[in-house]
Symmetry: C2
Subunit: 197 residues, 2 copies
C-alpha cells in the first residue's frame, strides 16, 4: 500500500525545494490538497510563468524580466562604481539600507571548487568585460565566510589586472551589539579595522 501515483509524484516534486525533506514534502502536499487548493493552483501557475519569463540581467546577473534589470537600465545610476554581492537578496538589503547609488554585480553564489562553482559559474567573464569598460571602483560586499574571502581575493586580483580600485565593506562589531557577545573573529576584525576619529 502506497500513496496514489499522482500524490507520490507530488511529494517527490516538492523535494526539489531547498530545505524540504521527505516529511516536509508530504506535509506540503497534504496541505495544498486539503486546505489550499486555490493557493496551490496559483503557485503552479506563478511558478510556471516565472520560469518562462525570469532571466538574468545581461550586465549584472540580477533576476530580471527584460534584458536589463531596473538598476542597470537606470541611466542616473553611477556606472563607475560596482558593488559585488553574492545574491539578489543582498542587492535588496543594500538598496533599502544604504545610500549607494552605483551599479551591482550579482555572483549568484561564491567560489567553491568542491561544489563545482568556479569563476565561470559566477559569471566573472561578464565582470571582466565591465572592468575593461567604464568601471573605476569595485566594492566587495560578499560574506565574511571562507568561500566569501576566497571570492573576494579572486575578484580583487582581477580588479588589479584591470587597474580598477577595490574596496571591501567593513567587518566589525554590529551596531547595537554588545562587545561581550561578539565572536572572536569579528572582534579581531574590528580591532584590525580601527579608524582614527
Amino acid at each position: 500500500m502506497a500513496f496514489s501515483p499522482a500524490l507520490s509524484r507530488l511529494i517527490d516534486a516538492f523535494r526539489v525545494l531547498p530545505g524540504v525533506g521527505a516529511k516536509s514534502a508530504q506535509r506540503m502536499a497534504f496541505h495544498v490538497l486539503q486546505r489550499e487548493r486555490e493557493g496551490g493552483a496559483h503557485l503552479a501557475d506563478t511558478l510556471k510563468r516565472a520560469l518562462d519569463t525570469i532571466r538574468h540581467c545581461k550586465e549584472c546577473r540580477m533576476f530580471a524580466e527584460r534584458e536589463l534589470c531596473d538598476i542597470c537600465a537606470d541611466e542616473r545610476r553611477d556606472a563607475i562604481r560596482v558593488c559585488i554581492v553574492e545574491s539578489p537578496a543582498d542587492v535588496m538589503a543594500i538598496e533599502q539600507h544604504t545610500d549607494f547609488r552605483g551599479r551591482y554585480f550579482v555572483l549568484m553564489g561564491r567560489l567553491s571548487p568542491i561544489d563545482g562553482v568556479g569563476p565561470e559559474e559566477l559569471g566573472l567573464s561578464i565582470l571582466r568585460e565591465r572592468m575593461a569598460g567604464r568601471v573605476e571602483e569595485i566594492i566587495l560586499a560578499v560574506g565574511a565566510t571562507v568561500e566569501g574571502e576566497a571570492t573576494a581575493q579572486y575578484i580583487a586580483e582581477l580588479a588589479h589586472q584591470y587597474r580598477v580600485s577595490v574596496t571591501r565593506i567593513a567587518h566589525g562589531v554590529p551596531v547595537g551589539g554588545e562587545l561581550e557577545y561578539v565572536d572572536a573573529g569579528t572582534l579581531s576584525q574590528a580591532f584590525s579595522g580601527r579608524r582614527p576619529l
Copy 2:
C-alpha cells in the same frame, strides 16, 4: 527598488506552503530560478495535475484519484472494522507497521472549534452512514493531544448511538523508551492502562 513583478509574485506564492515564511519563500524562489529550473517546471506541472486529479475517497476520505481509494476498493479487506485516523500519513504508518486489515476513515484534521473545524469539516456525516451500515468496531487511532482527545470522545459517543463497539489504541511508554525520559502524561497513561500478564 523591489524585485521584478514576476519574482515578487513567485515569492508570495510560495508562502501558501506550510511553515514557509518570507525568508524561506525567497530562498525557494531563488533556488528554483537559479539551480533547479527543470525541477521547478516539474513541480509546477505535477502540482497542477495533482490538483486536477486527486480527490477524496467517498468512503474513507483518503486522497484518491478514483471514486474509491485502493483500500476501500479492495474487497478482501475486513469491512466491519474501521480505524479512525487524523491524516493520510497515519494510514501509511499503520499499513506499514501493523497487521491491521480492516478499513479506515481519515478525518483530515481533528475537532478544533477555535479554528472552525467541527464535525462537518471532519466528514463525520459520512462516518455516521458507515456506522449505520456494516461496521461493528471502531478503532480510534487519533493523537493523544487535547484536540485528539475531544475528537475521540465525540466519535465514541457517535459509535454508542449506533451501537458500534469502540476501542482506542494503547498509549504508554514507547517500545525501547527509557522510563526516566518519558514525560509525566505518558507515564501516568501507561500506569492506568496496565494489563495482566
